[in-house]
Amino acid sequence: MIIKNVRAYYAAGSGPEVKAVDGVSLAIREGDVLGIAGESGCGKSTLAAVMSLTARPPLNVKGGEMSLNGKTFSLVEQAKFPRDWHGKMVALLPQRAMNSLNPTARVRDFVVDVVRAHDSTVRPRAAIEQARERLEQLSLPARVLESYPHQLSGGMRQRVVAVISTLLNPQVLIADEPTSALDVSSQKQLVLLLKLLLECRFITRIVYITHDLPMLSNIANFIIVMYAGKVAEIGTTQQIVNEPRHPYTHALITSTLDPDLRVREHQLEGIRGAPPDLRYPPTGCRFHPRCPRVMEICSREEPPIVGEEERYAACWWVFEQSKTAGGKEAQS
């Protein structure tokens, strides 16, 4: 799946629009788990809404297109996507599974509605049977089908939602902070479930959105770091965690807790300030007011992209570094 140059703005009363996602492109290959990381307010969930085709006013998609399985559609008119794309091509694993199931319907009734939305010839009984089989394959109790959402625990509800989202074997699963409301053991179970879903080849690609970098390093093999609606850095999980280039990525990583003995004694650094008001994004590089490596040019001009398609950072400082490094190589 490839998405190109997505721009999605929130209409904000009479004032200027909130540029929540501004020119993001990404690609994800079959079998990959792509992580998207960043602070809250950097456009992750907005991007998830656009990719899962659920953007609705006041969120307006201003530009961008999506290619999947050889078909390309403009993301601007989300309502014009064929019905089959919803749930069968891209499916959403939502942020608040607690409230994502209709409180007055049994799980099995919702399963019937989901399956029959894509093939009305399926009998309700067959749809329930399909879900029961899937639950058993994933070693989850089939009795949840008979339950109302309020009868399930928070972790179980999130796992059930994950099973329903993937019931139609979607090409891409967009997981939008699925673990943010869960305790640590439920988080682990959900990650194991997602890995199992990949292993069984029920789904082939996951876009996993979170602010939790350590969690991401457990499941993702590629990571995109976003800041203020733009991509700051892209790389494999190893590259992002071990050799971060962008000062923002570096700051994110040094502000996570690590039980490693060597770092135990250190004071966590954190990042000064707060993400910018996206109605009036900073000029040039959007990170420059908070950046420890800020240079004079950063506030004037958009940062250049330094690196290749699958491993780059958008930063003036990185650009300077690579020039001097290149210069040194040339000298020696």
């Binding site: 899962s52 085709l53 659920t54 609705r56 019905r83 089959d84 794309w85 919803h86 749930g87 069968k88 499916a91 959403l92 939502p94 942020q95 608040r96 607690m98 409230n99 994502s100 199931l101 209709n102 409180p103 007055t104 319907a105 919702f110 509605d113 989901v114 939305a117 894509h118 109302y148 309020h150 009868q151 939602v161 329903i164 989202s165 139609l168």
Partner: protein
């Protein structure tokens, strides 16, 4: 299920207690109205000059004794309760020797036939309008909905009088008063039904038009709230059909509306009092109005008893209906997980 039974018993006990208190008030309140019913009757008799003051005094004491008004209050109360236990509502003071049961039985069908269809039609149309304005927006939300809001914000007798003036007095399309032509007596004939239908249109539409706005504003607000719920977004993301999603919303937004419906039906008997008076409709409202003017205690008590029972039953049914619509309320009341 035993938990459910004890819940039910608990509810029934509370309702029985409320019923007893209401019965007592029901007895006391009409008697607290200043004036004496027998005065009214006797003064009506003497205005024609047909009775000498001597005879009037005789009639007066005879009526007082007949109605038991010479007895102390507590004795009257015991007699009232005793009669009630036998299902006897007593004799009308003003229209004696007619029994209260008979008077109510004559008026009640008219009220029910007017109100029940009006409430159900108004409720259904109002809720549909509410969901659709929330879901479709556009003209419905900016044109139709405000018109009904305007109508329902006037007192309901105002609309009744406006309709009466427009369609019965100015354009004489519909008859001015009554439940049927004054020249007829109720009988199962074709002409009688035709006449009843003609007299039905104005009071019925005045009630329905008022009801639609009140219902749709609640339903619209609830639906807008539900439209924003996570489960709607999630269902859409999986491609679930629009009519299924509207069905989810409808069910979840309906709880407060059910209360409104049940209470409207429960208080139906008293609900259209003024409508009935404006249109001189031969229902409970007109009967109650007449009885209050004449201090006709037994009829007033009989009707308020009816209203009370209606409201209590409606409340009881609402409690039960909630459990059926929302499994979370059911779980909490019977204590299951």
């Amino acid at each position: 299920m035993t938990r459910f039974h004890s819940y039910l018993m608990n509810k029934i006990l509370w309702f029985a207690l409320a019923f007893c208190i209401a019965l007592t008030l029901n007895f006391l309140l009409p008697r607290l109205i200043p004036g004496n019913p027998v005065d009214v009757i006797v003064s009506e008799m003497t205005t024609g000059g047909a009775l000498s003051s001597e005879a009037a005094k005789g009639v007066y004491t005879a009526y007082i004794a007949e109605f038991g008004l010479d007895k102390p209050m507590h004795e009257q109360f015991l007699r009232y309760m005793g009669n009630l236990a036998r299902g006897d509502l007593g004799i009308s003071f003003a229209r004696s020797p007619a029994r209260v049961q008979t008077l109510i039985a004559q008026a009640l069908p008219w009220t029910i036939a007017l109100q029940l269809p009006a409430i159900l039609t108004g409720w259904t149309l109002g809720n549909l309008l509410g969901v659709l304005t929330a879901y479709r927006k556009g003209v419905l939300d900016r044109g139709v909905f405000p018109i009904f809001m305007f109508i329902s914000s006037m007192p309901y007798y105002c609309l009744a009088i406006i309709l009466l003036y427009l369609f019965a007095v100015h354009f004489t399309i519909f008859p001015v008063a009554g439940g049927y032509s004054f020249a007829m007596t109720p009988a199962p004939t074709w002409e009688f039904f035709r006449s009843a239908a003609e007299h039905y249109v104005l009071p019925f539409s005045s009630l329905v038009l008022i009801f639609i706005g009140g219902q749709s504003v609640g339903m619209r607000a609830m639906s807008i709230y539900e439209l924003d719920a996570d489960y709607v977004r999630y269902s859409r993301s999986l491609g679930v059909a629009d009519n299924r999603i509207i069905a989810y919303i409808f069910r979840n937004a309906m709880l407060p509306q059910i209360t409104g419906l049940a209470l409207a039906i429960g208080s139906m008997v008293s609900g259209a009092l003024i409508t009935e008076i404006v249109f001189s409709y031969p229902g409970i409202g007109s009967l109650l109005f007449g009885s209050i003017r004449q201090n006709d205690y037994p009829v007033i008590q009989g009707i308020t008893l009816l209203i009370m029972i209606g409201v209590l039953i409606a409340n009881f049914l609402v409690d039960i209906a909630y459990g059926f619509i929302d499994p979370r309320i059911r779980a909490r009341t019977i204590g299951e997980r």
